[in-house]
Symmetry: D2
Subunit: 313 residues, 4 copies
């Protein structure tokens, strides 16, 4: 968020979820007003309507909420752009009211996806416990926090322990210790953050028709300029079954000459292109820029073209 | 399922979900033993372990269960192949015990994704109702069927009404009347069903490294042989962050010469290729086969090559 | 030739050849000083050294002089650019001193290439005549014009008849009545003639190394921008055997946005690019410009990129 | 030439030219009947009509005869294939009757192309000599050999000295000491010589139409299979101005799986493909075969395809 930090952040709620944890990694969030919303769409609309300055939503998150929902909701409606990405290790904890003993846990609340990702641990350590589905891990923690409630414990993000004053009965109970989820901070259109040399650009390319090679044309616009893709998904546009768009993340920043030229190429060959932002990569990986596509080489080529057009070459 | 129909079908349960409805569109299911499983993985493993002959699971389903889960679970573990695809319109119904009046409905159970997809209708017609999350629409219907239970109604697939003897308070309450979901019937490896002329082939291509143009190489193997893709998604392989595979559906059948040659090309340039089956398209759309890639032209070219290698040309 | 026409034109001599005929199709040549030179290189060097303002030389000419010589000599040395192309039907005539009868012709002079191209006619009509090789058709006509010389007739361009006061014993005696040759008028670097909408651009692309796909990279720079090639030849650079350049003519003008961007792309991926000019096509054929690569679409895309970079999109 | 060597070789004459020198590098020529022909076409037709078993003709020869003539004549008419290539350094000698002194040389015969390539030496050492054009360097040597003839010396291949009993007044007088010419030995269609691992394949690809990217399609058939091109030239087909074919040499042998598959691809996408032979490279350079396109990998992929088609994968 360049310049003044936003005073108000929306996020996919409720409180105590991984999304709130992702938001709290943003330095400016420490002194901001954080507001949970009931859905990705609601959080995004809060930004669109000016109720919030930015929203943290999951983009590739296997725990709660769907990648697809976020992708589709950024692809339509009033334009928004990604300002920052956050990668968060998925660390599940079994949380309960202080004093609860693991052996006494009979009913465990959590989101169905979280239950699926901790199944091995739960089957081993709580083979007889009943699973109570909750709409989010945060909601599960809230249920577990109710004194005398019907739930003994919750599988949730560690942040939910702080939020609901729950004790950690067991930490890191996910079946895949390396799982990482990806969140994005989204705002209204603005000049992207300054390029860092390790950036990503997100966009949606809408295909005019569906001939063999339509996707190849799109990818060639990147490849001819040496730009690597880090994610691609074909998505039906919903308008008519069989019509597609491509949701794409690529290496580089819109201010890089090669990325700018590729975007212009897409703009020309696609039915539409929606720019979803350029932002620093959370993993800090710099791209390998092959010979011929650096900004210096673009500038040299531009000067050369001017010379031959003027007859000075 | 060529030949004898399988006696035992697994599916993503519980009973009364869209997945069961999809399975019941398969003619052979009428006289088969249908068994719900608690997760996509459990249903697939039932096939892998020989407990079931085939399993119906969601592949592109926005209601319950995740595309990604199915894709990832087909991409790893013991090989399975897709035998059939089923497209099902997403038709939500508000179901309740017979005699329930719409105005009296206070607590509505459903899966969170189904709730999201009926929000407009629910907000309009049941603005004061409380949403009770359930792990599936079938489970929600089961809750609604309990006499004296805490739930008045459920948002679920119409099939759940039959299953749990519920009345339809309102039909077609989804916000998007054109929504379609996609399911696949999966079995152990076998010779694919005979080509129909309107087929799809599914596969996963694992990329050896992540250089710009790796994806382009993969797509060129299809494009040079005039094969259109109908779905592509990059997926992290999980082994190391940053390593990718591509989950791909393409037009055509592995027995088509152009598809066979493209698959061999992928096999050679990729770290690995997992074939996930060739099967009739549910929509019956025949591909436009461009000049130069028909089976007849492949046969002619093969004969010509033999002639020039022998000096007969 | 923008502005004042050059006062002095060089051309591949001697007088009375097809090259002089090509030069005389240039309107400005009517009032200019025309000077024949003994070789393509000599004519080009006359321009390089300021002795001439422009030179007419054969580029794709099957009669006299080699395509390759002209291509290679434009590719090296002080830069020159093509200002105009001329297409000339190859019309051979049998010329002799007035009063000569066809039946009496015993010795026929011509350039060996011209002899080859009229062999059918010569074999039929002058089966017993002896062929006297001459270094050009113009020189052959000069020999035929010598009274009492050893040559009875010459196969030459019709223009040689005027030049040497020879009678036409037979016209259009070439074996291929549709043969066309191509000449170019070459000058010192200057801003190219204004685009006409039916233009060609010539260049030489020097390849840094010789990996599979190097040529494909070069062609992709054109294809991704919808530019058709009208001629391509790989040529050894002479520096080391096995190193190549590509001599290319493409549709369009360096002032067309798509051509400019393609040239910049070549400049970046090639070891070197030599621009050889943009000029009106002699055949007046306009290119089919595919959607996405017109100047209007380039301008729109440029404006769009500026907006998204500024956060106004 | 597998098996019995041909008894009769045709070559582009006359005797004593570089082409004869190229033919004499073929071991089997030592005991064969060599016959000069007046043109490339005549030599090729001698093979077509069974008068000769094979013919040596120039393919990339800057001295006499045109690349283009040979290319065009192989591209049409009764099929022929290249059996062997020969690379010959271009070494010019100044030849004269024994006893002739360099200072006395006044009239020098040679082919115009040879004159052009020795101009620097001639200008320096024989500034006042007159150039007498001859239809070949061999014919020039024959003129120089005539006692009392009008020619004092000839610029020709060293072999012409032996042939016409001429003395070498000066050796290696060419301006470019590294110049190399390329010849091919051509025969009637037969199974190509066995692959050596360092082979070339020649062919002509006729394009159905002239859309942007037609050439790219052709090249993609090679590139997708990792095959490098060593020469490419667009050539008008002569049928209608503006219709093109591509004359191509690529690395590898028709019996290599990658080359065979590429040729089949061309056969399918082109209007026509003429195979002109696979033969050992004269320079012995082995191609760098990239991962994925070796014969072993093709065999593995073929076996894998059979397995998945049968359901054994």
């Amino acid at each position: 968020m360049p310049g003044t930090p936003p005073a108000r952040y929306a996020y996919l709620g409720p409180e105590g979820t991984f999304t709130e944890a992702a938001l709290r990694t943003v330095p400016a969030a420490a002194r901001a007003n954080l507001q949970p919303y009931a859905s990705v769409l609601a959080a995004l609309d809060a930004v669109r309507h000016g109720e919030a300055d930015a929203a943290m939503v999951p983009l590739e998150n296997s725990v709660e909420g769907s990648v697809n929902a976020t992708l589709d909701e950024l692809a339509t409606g009033e334009p928004l752009i990604v300002l920052r990405e956050v990668l968060l290790p998925v660390s599940f904890a079994l949380l309960a009211r202080p004093g609860t003993e693991l052996e006494k846990v009979r009913r465990v609340a959590t989101h169905p996806h979280a239950e699926a990702q901790c199944r091995r641990w739960l089957t081993t350590h709580l083979p007889d416990a009943e699973f109570i589905p909750a709409p989010s891990t945060g909601a599960a923690a809230a249920l577990a926090a109710e004194p005398g409630g019907e739930v003994d414990a919750a599988v949730a993000a560690p942040i939910a322990g702080d939020r609901y004053r729950l004790a950690v009965l067991a930490a890191d109970i996910g079946d895949n210790p390396d799982a990482i989820t990806r969140f994005v901070l989204v705002g209204r259109p603005t000049a992207p953050p300054v390029a860092t040399g390790a950036d990503k650009t997100s966009l949606v390319a809408f295909i005019a028709d569906d001939h063999p090679g339509a996707l190849l044309e799109v990818l060639t616009e990147f490849a001819v300029r040496g730009i690597n893709l880090t994610r691609i998904e074909s998505r039906p546009t919903g308008e008519r079954f069989g019509h597609y768009c491509f949701s794409i993340d690529c290496e580089g920043h819109v201010d890089d000459a090669r990325v700018g030229e590729a975007l212009m190429g897409l703009r020309r060959v696609c039915a539409d292109v929606r720019f979803l932002g350029s932002y620093a990569r959370a993993d800090g990986n710099k791209p390998r820029v092959r010979p011929g596509v650096s900004d210096v080489e673009f500038r040299d080529a531009t000067a050369w073209l001017a010379r031959i057009r003027d007859g000075r070459a």
